[in-house]
């Protein structure tokens, strides 16, 4: 079976009564890596949060589907079990719940009752992925994200990605606040996932991450819409010339929309 398809059509989203997304169209297929770039405040994070079902965002019109199933009708956990994953920009800290317990609970939720992973198998899998991501094995027994540094949190998001093996992953500014070594490790994790059954949407300000992960498609977001799409060369041009040429080309003065949440 070929990879999954995440299809976003004319998506409009409000936060606290203010429209942030004004008609986003995008299709991400298994095997593809898409990058959405754009300055701050143009709606990039809103797009990722809306796809996952963040409680603060209200979809007012348009559709999001995964392999034909209406994602917007699903609760957040159902979206995840359907195969979506969002590596968050600001992962929550949850005191008293160890990373390992959390991940096992998440994995078992996906596998469903009766198909739970054995403890030994789980530990082996987790150890292996942690080593791959050059994480301290102690982090399995630390409370979820509590007291983690920025870099540790981001690695932990990628660890979850690798453990849960979603069909489509969205990475929301996974590169922000990372030093070059951490960035390389995170990229290594994502590249490891690359394959027919894995589609990925990377949201970023910077070309930097794309030096390590070559996207198949690059999109630029402004004013709550995707205003330009291209191949990897588009990212390179943005890195070299910034965004002004696009604004000029499209006659945009202020690229932002509402407030970026």
């Amino acid at each position: 079976m070929a990879g999954s398809v995440l299809s976003i059509k004319d998506l409009h989203v409000e936060i606290e009564g203010k429209e942030i997304l004004k008609g986003v169209n995008l299709e991400v297929k298994g095997g593809e890596i898409h990058a959405i770039m754009g300055p701050n405040g143009t709606g990039k994070s809103t797009l990722s949060s809306s796809i996952m079902g963040h409680p603060k965002y209200e979809v007012t019109s348009g559709s999001v589907s995964l392999d034909g199933e209406n994602v917007l009708d699903m609760a957040v956990d159902e979206r995840a079990r359907a195969g979506l994953f969002l590596a968050m920009q600001y992962p929550s800290e949850i005191s008293g719940v160890t990373n390992a317990d959390f991940l096992r609970s998440a994995l078992n939720s996906r596998l469903g009752e009766g198909n739970e992973i054995s403890l030994m198998k789980f530990i082996r899998k987790m150890d292996k992925q942690m080593e791959f991501l050059e994480m301290d094995l102690d982090m399995a027994q630390r409370y979820l994200n509590e007291g983690f540094s920025g870099g540790e949190k981001k690695r932990n998001e990628i660890l979850q990605l690798m453990m849960l093996e979603p069909k489509i992953a969205i990475l929301d500014e996974i590169d922000s606040g990372l030093d070059i070594d951490a960035l390389k490790v995170v990229s290594k994790g994502i590249n490891e996932m690359r394959g027919e059954d894995f589609g990925c949407l990377i949201i970023t300000h910077y070309q930097r991450l794309l030096d390590y992960i070559t996207p198949d498609h690059v999109h630029v977001m402004m004013q709550g819409r995707i205003v330009k799409s291209g191949g990897p060369e588009l990212a390179q041009r943005l890195e070299a010339e910034g965004y002004d040429w696009i604004k000029k080309e499209l006659g945009i003065e202020d690229e932002t929309v509402g407030q970026e949440a």
């Binding site: 409680p55 957040v76 968050m88 929550s92 949850i94 005191s95 719940v97 939720s109 409370y143």
Partner: protein, 435 residues
């Protein structure tokens, strides 16, 4: 004014009860005097909870008949689950309602002169020792309920560790309530003499649902110079029982008293936990978790009172309230004049799981000395929707996500309990109660 007694049992009855138990004269005397005083003493006044309609004084039976258990195998399953049966070197006391029902004493303890027995045996066989400490940390005339407690004591345990004796294995007491007509006036006295150390864990467990009675517990934990007491407790008394539980510590010079309390009663409960840091350099640490559910009202007052210089007191309380339950958390750090260089810290967190649940956290610092440090943090809130969103975004269903957050919230205290079986039981109780 009538001279008719207000209490279900009069002095004559108490005197003959005491004689029947072959108690020493001083104890009979103490019972009678306490009963006499009770009428003029005020009820305790837990801050922000009205208890004038609660029944703490009227009851039918002072003793119920219960059978003993001749071996561990005979213990009911609920009790067995609490006992670490692998650890043969543990000491265990099981009380069934008012009846001392089983006692197992480790060799280690016997050889080192440790006393661990029920309160009646203690009165008969260790009268002088008991007299020296009984109702000293908690005074009979503090309020009406402490007086009635002293008058009606009908169960409990006495643990005495002599000087320089370190007991490594946890000492466990299980107070089983399995008779709906039983009323508990339970007294636990734990004494750690100078330079000794011990870990004591108790469980109050109801296996009868249809109870209608009252519980009046007084615990005294007395730590001599440089002694260490780790005191763990899990209370799971049934909904029909109205409980007054007063656990108090008295720490001598450089002594440490550490409480880990899981207060999971289903009935109305007034819990008072006070640690008096009397000696210089003494240390008190109280960790508490509680869950309120149904219609119950609970009041948890936790105090650490600093008398000694360089004394340190830490209070950490986490509670969950659901349904229409009410839980009041009062935390008091008090530094007396002269207790210089002392430090009083406290943190209370209440998580409310339903619209009708009521939680209230009141941190109080009373400081009568300049050269000290103190701090407090308190919060009452609901489960953070962003935490739930995060967990759910990994495929975890909402109910499971809530369960994880609640367990995590209570974990800092649960993890402190020194017996694995008890820890496991507490986790299970929490699971059952928050579901």
């Amino acid at each position: 004014m009538t001279t008719e007694t207000k209490w279900p049992f009069d002095q004559e009855y108490i005197t003959s009860f005491s004689k029947e138990m072959s108690e020493p004269a001083w104890l009979t005397e103490l019972r009678v005097q306490s009963l006499e005083k009770a009428e003029d003493l005020p009820m305790p006044k837990p801050d922000k909870t009205k208890i004038n309609k609660w029944n703490f004084t009227q009851f039918e039976k002072l003793l119920v008949k219960s059978d003993v258990f001749s071996s561990i195998d005979e213990l009911p399953e609920e009790v067995k689950a609490l006992v670490d049966q692998e650890a043969k070197e543990n000491s265990l006391y099981v009380q069934r309602n008012n009846k001392p029902a089983y006692l197992q004493l480790s060799k280690e303890m016997q050889e080192q002169g440790v006393v661990f027995t029920d309160i009646f045996t203690a009165a008969r066989e260790y009268s002088d020792l008991l007299k020296k400490y009984f109702m000293t940390a908690v005074k009979t005339d503090e309020n009406r309920l402490t007086a009635l407690h002293a008058a009606f004591v009908n169960g409990g345990a006495f643990l005495y560790v002599p000087k320089n004796v370190q007991i490594k294995n946890p000492i466990q007491a299980i107070f089983l309530h399995d008779d709906a007509e039983a009323n508990l006036f339970n007294h636990v006295l734990v004494v750690a003499e100078d330079n000794s150390s011990l870990t004591y864990v108790e469980n109050y467990i109801s296996t009868t649902g249809a109870a209608n009675g009252l519980v009046n517990i007084v615990t005294e934990a007395i730590a001599g110079a440089n002694a260490k007491i780790q005191y763990g407790a899990v209370d799971t008394l049934a909904a029909g029982l109205t409980t007054y539980v007063n656990r108090r510590g008295h720490a001598g010079r450089d002594a440490r008293i550490e409480w880990a309390l899981g207060l999971m009663n289903d009935g109305n409960t007034i819990s008072e936990n006070v640690t008096n840091l009397v000696g210089d350099g003494s240390y008190g640490d109280t960790k508490m978790v509680m869950v309120g559910r149904g219609e119950q009202t609970q009041n948890f007052t936790t105090s650490i009172i600093h008398f000694g210089k360089n004394s340190e007191g830490y209070i950490l309380k986490h509670g969950v309230v659901k349904d229409s339950a009410t839980s009041i958390f009062n935390g008091i750090g008090k530094i007396e004049h002269g207790a210089s260089k002392s430090n009083a810290e406290q943190e209370s967190r209440v998580l409310m799981l339903s619209e009708k649940a009521r939680g209230d956290a009141n941190p109080i610092l009373l400081i009568d000395e300049d050269d000290v440090t103190a701090g407090h943090a308190a919060s009452v809130g609901r489960v953070d929707p962003l935490q739930l969103y995060y967990l759910m975004s990994r495929g975890i269903p909402k109910t499971e996500a809530e369960r994880l957050v609640i367990h995590g919230f209570l974990a800092p205290v649960v993890n402190e309990l020194p017996i694995e079986g008890v820890k496991k039981q507490l986790v299970e109780v929490i699971e059952r109660k928050v579901k």
